[in-house]
Symmetry: C2
């Protein structure tokens, strides 16, 4: 997860030798705007400390089967990008595994720095390293071109039922 | 999970008072054609007993967060329908949960008995009972109408990257 990819080194060069590091979510990211950032993707009601910590512990217990990556802006001390991948274990395809990418969001003020593409690249790398035979995600039609740049192709239709 | 829904009782009446029961996957279903049935959906290489049992135990340890339902035909002793739902835990939506439906397949020789619709109905019920705010799935465009009958609506685009 931590090794730099050739394309990352290329981007770093293009951006003047400085790339914000990607790391796993930490408990202290609650006070760095992590939940506010998710709120740019989907409604996020305020969470108590206890609720945040309980969910953090629950997800951390899944180890490498559930990984939340973040990018922190060292100047502002705020989380400016995040994305999640979890590994689903199946019986089909010889007990195959599938990576599911979820909740990718880049702060509106930090667009244009390829942060989304870098986060997605790392999530894909993690799915591959975990032995998944594919990695999938659902997105709006507007984001199709972005994910094509990340090496994805349109495959199916996502159906939803809300409660 | 086990209580009959009103629409199930309706179907039972329409089918002459007999509905094949839906139950959770059991270890012994390996010898009842469960993997062969999945092979009608996606390639399934043969599994050793050890591989099957290891994956079964791994998934069973997730409890109600990962449920595989099956329908067995008592006459043939074969599994004729299956479907899976797992519960994803998020931070957004106030530590919300999302149900993911996967690997729904009905034996080609058992179509037309509403087994798929019944399995999906139960998977949806489970997601709802687990506190999910929505349940989602990916399918081919041809299956859109089937899932609309199950109460789903088209929402997004599924993108995939194969390794």
């Amino acid at each position: 997860m931590e090794s730099r990819q050739p394309e990352e080194r290329e981007k770093e060069k293009a951006e003047g030798g400085f790339l914000l590091p990607i790391r796993r979510l930490e408990m202290s990211d609650r006070s760095k705007g992590f939940i506010d950032l998710l709120g740019q993707l989907s409604p996020c009601s305020p969470l108590s400390d206890a609720d945040f910590l309980a969910r953090f512990a629950e997800l951390a217990s899944l180890g490498d089967d559930h990984v939340i990556l973040v990018i922190e802006d060292p100047q502002s001390g705020r989380i400016v990008a995040t994305g999640t991948v979890f590994v689903e274990k199946k019986f089909l395809r010889g007990c195959g595994k599938v990576g599911h990418i979820e909740d990718v969001v880049v702060d509106a003020a930090a667009r244009g720095l390829h942060l989304g593409q870098r986060i997605v690249g790392r999530l894909v790398d993690h799915a591959k390293a975990s032995g998944c035979y594919k990695v999938i995600l659902d997105c709006t039609a507007e984001l199709r071109a972005f994910y094509e740049k990340c090496g994805f192709e349109e495959k199916n239709v996502q159906m939803a039922r809300y409660f």
